[in-house]
Structure formats: C-alpha cells, structure tokens
C-alpha cells in the first residue's frame, strides 16, 4: 500500500479491475429510476441500464453525500498518510463540493480535493496516471504537478444520439438542443473549461465518425497518443472508430471503454467519443 491513496468518483468510469490493480478507491454516485436508487458501477450493470433507457425510462443522478466521502477517507487514513481525491468537473456535478465538505470534517488529515474539470474516461485517465505515480513512490507534490499538467493536455470529443438527455439534465442550454432534430445533424461536443460545449456540427453518422478520427489525428500530430474510445451502448461506432484510428503514430494506444450509468444518464444511449492525451 502506497502512502498516498488516490480517490475518485464513479463518473471516471474505471473498470473495477483496473481500480483494484492500481489501488484506486471509487466513491459511487447514484443513478435513479423513479424511486429506485442504484450505486453507479456497483449495483446496476450497463447492459440493463441502457436497455431501460432505450425503453424510454428516464434516469436522474445524484452525487455522493459528504458522509460517504468522509467514510471513505476515514478508512483510507488508517492505512495512508495522504489522500488525493480527484473528481468530476464542478460545473457538471456537485460531487467535488461533497468531497470538500468531507475534507473539512477531517481537519487534521492531509487530503487534497481536485476539481479535474473533466468527466468519464478523461477523468479516469487522469486518475490512473495519478495512481501509477503514487505506486512508483512519487511525492504528493510531484503527483499534483502531474495532475495539473495532464488536466491541460487531455481532450474529449463526443457525439450523442440526441441532445435531449443533456438538455433535460441541464447539462447544456436549451437552444442547443433544438439542433440535431433536423437534417440528421450530429453535433460534435467537447469538454472545455469544465463544461460541455459545442465544437462543430456535422451531418450524418459516417461524417461524424470520420470527423472525430480527423480530430484525433490533428491532436496527435507526429506524436504517439493515448486514445480511449468511449461508447454508451454503441459498440458499432466504437469499432468503426477503432478502424479509422489504425494509422496513429507508432507507440500510440487505442482502447475502448464503456460509459457508465451516471454519465450515460446525461449523455443518453448511443453516445460515442474519444479521449486523447499525448504521451
């Protein structure tokens, strides 16, 4: 066990196995269907979840309570001296507020709470890098430096089937949501300044896939990149993107990951996208 423990929340969409291997503690958010409340990534598998969304059910989400963070921190403090807790953008969820509230309940502990300005596997990538650095015995300040640097470099671009879920969840403005209902317009969205912003509008699924691939090549330039393809019940798009990305510079890695229930509740089924980070 390293002396520095890494904590994140379930919106990082890290597979349980990856988290276990790297010793990452995940505090789950909750996904809610009516009166039914499930802990994200723990109590409901994504297959069931997307099936219910596609059947027309509406899911809402809620952040962990400060008490849940406090419990997680207390448990870790028995083994670790320092905690770095890295979370979903404050502009998308109140999770980081809950983490900060928990930290204030433990005034003597060395806990750093970070608003990553990211979400989904982009946050996951950041958390994985921090956990690896912790395992290598890096100091707290070195890890925080790494996190700050990576936060600048990680890029996210994605497409949703319909902007309706984002609109209903209040994650984008109402005017934007009108698009996409005409002419088969596929808005390409990005995460910038911690919020979801329109990047470009393209028409048709194929052009959207091609454009996403182009963006990855542009971002990469001649350098190898780490690329994560994410999908929310859209394996087909992920496979097509994997093919389109086969010519990335040598040394690049391309992996596919699934969008979890809390992020999926806002993005809607069918979402696909890329997370890019230069090596």
């Amino acid at each position: 066990m390293p002396e520095i423990a890494i904590v994140t929340d379930s919106t990082a969409d890290l597979p349980a196995e990856t988290a276990r291997k790297l010793g990452i503690t995940i505090v789950p958010l909750k996904v809610i269907f009516g009166q039914e409340v499930y802990r994200d990534g723990v109590e409901m598998d994504t297959a069931t979840f997307y099936k219910r969304l596609r059947a027309g059910e509406m899911a809402t989400t809620s952040q962990p309570s400060p008490g849940e963070f406090e419990a997680a921190y207390r448990e870790l403090l028995a083994k670790a001296e320092t905690i770095i807790s890295i979370h979903i953008s404050r502009d998308l969820s109140g999770t980081v507020n809950a983490a900060e509230a928990a930290r204030s309940l433990l005034p003597d502990a060395d806990i750093t709470v970070i608003d990553s300005r990211l979400v989904a596997r982009a946050l996951g990538l950041l958390v994985q890098a921090a956990a690896r650095a912790a395992r290598e015995g890096k100091s707290r300040d070195e890890i925080l430096g790494l996190i700050t640097k990576l936060m600048q470099e990680i890029r996210v671009f994605f497409c949703v089937d319909s902007l309706e879920h984002l609109r209903r969840g209040g994650r984008i403005g109402g005017a934007q949501a009108l698009l996409g209902t005409i002419l088969n317009i596929k808005p390409i969205l990005t995460l910038r300044d911690g919020i979801i912003q329109p990047f470009e509008k393209v028409r048709g699924h194929r052009i959207a896939l091609r454009r996403l691939a182009e963006i990855v090549f542009q971002e990469a330039g001649p350098q190898p990149v780490t690329c994560l393809i994410v999908e929310g019940d859209n394996r087909e798009a992920a496979d097509a993107l994997t093919n389109l990305l086969s010519g990335l510079p040598p040394g690049s890695t391309v992996e596919v990951g699934r969008v979890g229930t809390v992020v999926g509740a806002h993005a809607g089924p069918g979402v696909f996208g890329v997370v890019i980070c230069k090596e």
């Binding site: 403005g173 005017a175 009108l178 005409i182 002419l183 088969n184 470009e200 509008k201």
Partner: protein, 536 residues
Amino acid sequence: MAIKTIDGALLVRILHGALDWLSRHRQEIDALNVFPVPDGDTGTNMYATLQSAVAAVGDPPPEAISEAAAAAARGALIGARGNSGVILSQIIQGFATALAGKERADVQDIAGALAAGAEYAYRAVNEPVEGTILTVVRDTAQEASAAAGRSRNLLRLLVSVLRTATRSLAQTPELLPVLKEAGVVDAGGRGFTAILEGVLQAAVERELKAEPLLHDPGRRPDHGIPPAPALPETGDEKINFTYCTEFLLKGLNLDAAPLKEELAPHGDSLLVVGEGDVLRVHVHTDHPGTVLEAALKYGSLHDIRVNNMRDQHRQAARQQTVTAVVAVAAGEGFAALFNNLGAAVVPGGQTMNPSAGEIAAAVEKTGASAAIILPNNPNIILTARQVKNLTGREVRVVPTVTMPQGVAALLAFDPRRDALQNLSRMTEAAERIVTAEVTRAVRDAKISELDLKEGDFIALVGEELAASGADLLEVATAAAREIAADKDLLTIYYGAEVEPVLAEDLAGRLAKLLPAVELETQYGGQPHYHFLLAAE
C-alpha cells in the same frame, strides 16, 4: 362541485399538485428570469423551496391544517433557495402563521392566510419592487378577501384568485421596465401563478396533463418555445454586487431585525427571514466573508452557498448573438430550414433576385453588430457585396452558389467566433459540398457538346451538364451517382413541383445503388429545380 373547508390532508394534496405543476414549468420560468439578477434560475429555486416544504410535512400528514402548514413553512425556510425561493418561503410562513391553532380552514381563513402571506413577503424584502412576485401576491390576496365575501365555496375562491393573479402577472412588464425591455413577465410572479394553477387543479382532482389547461401568459403566443430573455448587451450592468450569498443561521431566540440592520450596508436584495431557532439569510454582496462573519455573532452557519453572479450571467449572456446570418432562400422548405438553423431569411433566388436594399433591411433587423450573408445563387453574390455600403454594420459574404451550400455554411457558423473567422470556416464548409441541380430545359440547346430538347430533364453540376433525358428519376439518379460515388452523405432536397412519393422513390433507388452513402431526404419546396442533390 364545492369545497367548504380544507384540512391537513387536503392541504398536503394541494401542495403536491402545486409542486408537480411547478416542476413542469420550471425551465420555462428559468428562461423568464431577468430580475433582480438575470441568472436564469428562478423556476429551479422556487421548485427546490416548495419541494423542501412538501417534504417537511411528512407522511401521513397531520390532520390539522395548522400543523401541516407550520411543517411546510419550516421546510420552506430550511430549503429556500434564491431570492424568489426566500420570498415564497415567507408567503408560506405568513400563511401558516395566520392558520395557527386551526383544525380546518374555510374561505375566510384562507383569504386571511393569503393576506398574511403577502404581508410577510413584503416585510421580508428591504426595498420592495413592484412588478414582481410581490405585486402578484398582494393582488391575489386582495381578490381572495373579496371572493370570500361572495361565496363559501373554496373552489370559487381559487378560480377567482387565479384569474386575478394571471392578470396581475400580465401587468408586471408595465410596472418594471427591465421586464418590458426583455419582453417577458416576471419570473417569480409566473412561478407563483404556476403554483396557484397546480393548487386549483389538485383541488378539483383533475388529472394533470402536460398541456396547460389554463392560459399561459408567460409564453408568447407566436412561439412554441418560451422566449429566451433578452439579456442586456453589455453584460454586467444589471449586477451591482458580485456574490449571491445564502445561508441558514441557527441559534436561540433569533430575531431577524437586528441582523437585517447590520447586513443592509453590505449589499442589496437582502432578505432575513424566520424566527426562533432558524433564520434564513440571502444577500447580494461584494464581501461574502464580512456578511458571514457578521452573522456568526448571532449563531451557527449552515448550508452556506456563495455564487458568483457575474459568472452565471456571463454564461447566459454568451448565448446572445453578436454576429447574425442572413440567407437568401427560395421555397418554403428551405426558408424554414435556414430559419430553424438560426438565420434570417430574405426570399429570392434564380428568377427573383432580391435587391441589396432588401438584404440590408434584413441585416438591420437582426440587430446584430455584424452579419454574414449567404447569397445561395451566383447571380446574387454581387448584390450581397453591395450591402455593406447600405448599413453601418460589419457585413461579410460567403459566396455560396446553391442553397445546399448555404445550409452547409450555416452549420459551420460558430456564434462564439467573430465574423471574419466565421467567414473562412463557412466558406470552407460550403466548398466541401457538390450540388447537382435537376431541372427542365426551357429551350433546345447545346451544352457540353450535347443536344438538348426543350422539355428534357437536365442535371447541372456548376456549368457542366451531368445528365439529361426524358425521365426525371433517371436523370436525377445518374446525377446522384456522378456526384456521390465516393462521398459519405447525399441530401435530396425536393422541389415544389415534386410529390413526396417521387422523392422517396429516388431515395429508394439510390439506397440500392449507393449502399455506402447515407441518404437524407428533405423538402426544399424550391421553384424550377425538381431536385437539388448535395453530396459531401
């Protein structure tokens, strides 16, 4: 149908109805929010407040109306959010206070309780402003007392107070100029009428339908969607203080008055409400620290919320247009398309070129400081370039020669960028489109070494003849295959003279012939051209 008295259980059912109705109108109310701070959260705040009130009552509800109302009032106080939420909590507080000790309430009691609610609401605000929720509540309370004299049926009372509230709401822009400028009614007032609507509907146990049963003055009749509030262009001018600061103060025998006095110099929109062991404080200030420190002398602080309102406002203001797009379009389908994608439309095309003056008038009408024109026809590009001499605004022309090119250019428009940056993005996007125009030859002619007979169908790609013949579908199919063979997307815009089934026929054929191309069929309604085919 008549209701003579209300007990605790009925009050709770009514509150649930109000909450449900408010939740349906929350976003619409958010969009109305321009006063006191245009941060677009009035509906959400009122909803959160009422939700907290309803949750506090518990299940099963107390039998006595006094107990149910008191519990709701306490819940509202604890959960109140934002200016409008705090005022709503005071309305409930006054309502509950007037009903103290009562098992059931009749029309006289309810009228008295509404009057107390209005009084509490006014008392909570340091400098009451008319044309807000305060006016609507006061008018409502006055009508309630008049109605209580006319009939003992509570349903009648509810109907007449709602009518008065709606009328009062419609008057708010006359009382508060900032509303009139923005072309909206007061958001808090609208929230209050939404609550009354929900109350009435729950009282008559009518099933809530998504469509409003009642006239909805918050909407403009000519729009399907609620109007976005027009935010002042210079952004920050309506915000006097930067931080919206809210918290609960808990202690023993708290009194609002001295704290209110102490906090008044630190900002505006000050509200200090409650009594006994909990006070809720809301203030707009430049020094949240000072405010918190001052309050700390009276008790402990809870549920502290500090928001930078300039950020919130900027976020909303960012969506305002500074650069507009004006498109020349022929055909109702294309006009609607350009409109829906956010452009102003000047009618015109092949045989009816608009004048520079007409385009300039459309540019002026957008009110934007810069405009980008999409002429969508080779014969209109020069006219469009004249427009800059007729208006003081910045004018750029993307030289689109077909309407499908114009659509592509418009999609590349990014309102966050300036006109010059957009010009190059939009020009590039237009250049990626290959358009084939399918029409009828108007006389015998020779194009590209081919003899054409009058009445033949021809497909033109730019100046070149791509196909010709007597059968419309064959000509269109040949043209589509020529331009779309190695493309991703082909859009079929069918014209005014073409039946939808014919367009579907064409799409069906092309789906087989071009399996790797995505197809999209769209009504363009353009004259002269049976089909405009666009490949990208």
